[in-house]
């Protein structure tokens, strides 16, 4: 209990300091604040044009696609704030920059994830929130108690799902000893795939993104439930909880992988 309070107070102070240090670079922040939303708006416009051309995509109309994308980008924004450090952890590993985590009397993964938040991720989160609200309004999402709860499970689950996969991929450098930039690529897979309904893709792809690399649980499956759409898997209800379960499971696995990886950590020669 005491240690939980201790961890919480360190996390809060770290968060505050992360915000402060982010404002050390106001120009960079403004740069991201302008360029990042544009990226999402362009993607969004693409959806719009595609739908104008074909009327619908695998039975999803424009409004439903907006909702799908909004849910996806909201969890993207959150995952950037909490997990984006895993994208460049390969460099930190080979350059010996994780020494500090070992020197402090706290859990290493806690320090790694919450010791420094990427406040620049707010520039992803803001468009995420806007798209999310827009999408919810477009499909007239009903904020009943149950629906709200399901939505929270979806977004939290999706954030952990993304983060877990990023952390696993980043931790591979502990063994490979040379950074691999799969995480940036992975982020693209998450965001691009989830722009469109999974049912649009060939069946193998559907199977892969459902069972092998559970990308589509980030928003597609929960959205089928919210919107009453068909998919490869038919369940009467419970998709958001599966998303949450997969997210927590992947995150738990990634914690193990990180811990195991750290035993291979060799710092750097100087």
């Amino acid at each position: 209990m005491k240690s939980l309070r201790h961890y919480l107070s360190v996390a809060l102070l770290s968060a505050r300091l992360s915000v402060q240090s982010c404002f050390e670079y106001p120009a960079a922040f403004i740069g991201w604040l302008i360029s990042n939303p544009i990226q999402f708006l362009v993607a969004f416009a693409t959806i719009r044009f595609v739908v104008m051309e074909f009327n619908d995509l695998a039975g999803w109309d424009y409004k439903q696609l907006a909702f799908l994308y909004g849910v996806s980008i909201l969890s993207h924004g959150l995952s950037v704030i909490f997990f984006s450090k895993t994208w460049w952890m390969g460099y930190q590993i080979i350059h010996g920059e994780l020494d500090r985590l070992r020197l402090r009397p706290m859990n290493t993964l806690f320090q790694f994830l919450l010791g420094e938040l990427n406040i620049f991720g707010i520039t992803d989160l803001i468009p995420g929130i806007i798209l999310f609200i827009y999408g919810c309004c477009a499909v007239d999402f009903r904020w009943t108690l149950y629906n709200t709860f399901c939505m929270i499970c979806t977004v939290i689950g999706a954030t952990f799902l993304r983060g877990g996969i990023y952390l696993i991929l980043g931790s591979l450098t502990f063994w490979s000893k040379s950074p691999m930039h799969i995480s940036g690529f992975m982020q693209e897979i998450f965001n691009r795939t989830n722009m469109y309904p999974l049912t649009m893709y060939p069946r193998v792809v559907q199977i892969i993104f459902t069972f092998v690399l559970p990308v589509s649980w980030v928003c597609f499956y929960p959205a089928t439930e919210f919107l009453g759409k068909d998919s490869m898997i038919t369940l009467p209800y419970g998709m958001p909880f599966i998303t949450l379960a997969i997210g927590i499971l992947l995150f738990a696995i990634s914690c193990r992988v990180f811990r195991a990886g750290f035993t291979q950590y060799e710092s750097a020669g100087s």
């Binding site: 240090s21 670079y25 500090r100 070992r102 009397p105 420094e116 035993t263 950590y265 710092s267 100087s270």
Partner: protein
């Protein structure tokens, strides 16, 4: 009970042998040749409370690797480390609570935070109470003049300022043991002096045990009663500077200036240089005293001036470094 005990410590790094050029790089992708580097090769020592130990050796000797294992950053390949009876490998958190660690080559502070904010965060991490924190800050300020740099972001500090910040940060939680890996690297005379004074003072006031690696022999002479010399991952000497000098370079030099050119041999001293009226004799302390040598020589020619030189610390260290390479 010793504060630090190291038994048969070994650390090996597996590295991939890279071949030259693009062709080699491509080849390496498919057939990587593994090479094992033994950075620390079976070392043992123990250190008592309140000692200041100089841990020295040539570049690549294995000093930093040893410090990293003692501070829990690296796991040993084999062997055992106990800090106050606890192994950093088994119970890292308990061990590091009692440690202050400074790497001169790389700051442990937070690059984008002001120094004061870094301290605030460390204070929270180590759960330091107000009294202790204020007392420590005051002491650091007295010796290291921290208050002049406390509002500067760490990335803007000069090397010397940053080192002062790192030292202060390492002391915030009043550790029992301090590991300093090249704390005076790249510093000017004043900054070095401040850091030496700091080490002396915390050692005297708090009985803090200090292990210090350095290439500056001034640090050693001024601070360390005991030195451990490591070379190629093996300890080659362990003792006081005087004892080591006695053992590996038990020489002194007597420089004699006559009124005219002379070359007077002596059975117990070797003439290593003779130039004009000046002759340099080298002799072993245990064979003859300087006074005897002088009076023997004085009987044969009139002496104008003399100078006595101890074996130079540079020479001693150089001999020790070369003894195992």
């Amino acid at each position: 009970m010793p504060v630090i005990e190291v038994n048969h410590l070994v650390k090996q790094f597996k590295t991939v042998k890279k071949e030259k050029g693009l062709k080699g790089a491509v080849k390496g992708l498919f057939k990587a040749e593994k090479k094992i580097v033994t950075a620390v090769n079976d070392i043992s020592f123990s250190i008592e409370k309140g000692e200041i130990v100089g841990y020295i050796g040539p570049n690549g000797a294995g000093k930093s690797t040893t410090v990293k294992m003692m501070s829990g950053i690296l796991s040993p390949t084999s062997g055992e480390i106990l800090i106050n009876g606890i192994s950093p490998e088994k119970d890292r958190k308990s061990v590091v609570k009692q440690l202050g660690v400074v790497f001169g080559q790389r700051t442990q502070l937070y690059w984008d935070l002001r120094l004061g904010e870094s301290f605030e965060l460390l204070r929270r991490i180590y759960n330091v109470d107000d009294d202790t924190f204020n007392r420590n800050m005051k002491m650091m300020d007295d010796i290291l003049n921290i208050s002049s740099i406390i509002d500067t972001p760490v990335r803007q500090l000069s090397l010397g300022q940053r080192m002062r910040g790192d030292l202060a940060a390492a002391m915030l939680h009043s550790p029992d043991v301090l590991f300093l890996d090249e704390p005076t690297i790249g510093l000017d005379v004043d900054a070095k002096h401040a850091i030496r004074r700091f080490i002396k003072e915390i050692n005297a006031e708090r009985q803090t045990t200090v292990i210090l690696t350095t290439h500056d022999l001034g640090d050693i002479q001024e601070l360390c009663k005991r030195i451990i010399i490591i070379n190629n991952g093996v300890i080659v000497e362990d003792g006081s500077l005087d004892d080591i000098a006695e053992r590996i370079a038990p020489y002194r030099q007597l420089i004699v200036e006559f009124y005219s050119e002379h070359e007077i041999p002596h059975p117990k001293a070797e003439i290593i240089k003779s130039e004009g009226a000046q002759t340099v004799y080298r002799f072993r302390k245990d064979e003859i005293t300087a006074a005897e040598l002088m009076s023997d020589i004085g009987k044969q020619a009139k002496i104008k001036d003399i100078r006595l030189e101890e074996a130079n610390i540079d020479d001693i260290i150089r001999i020790a470094y070369n003894s195992n390479s």
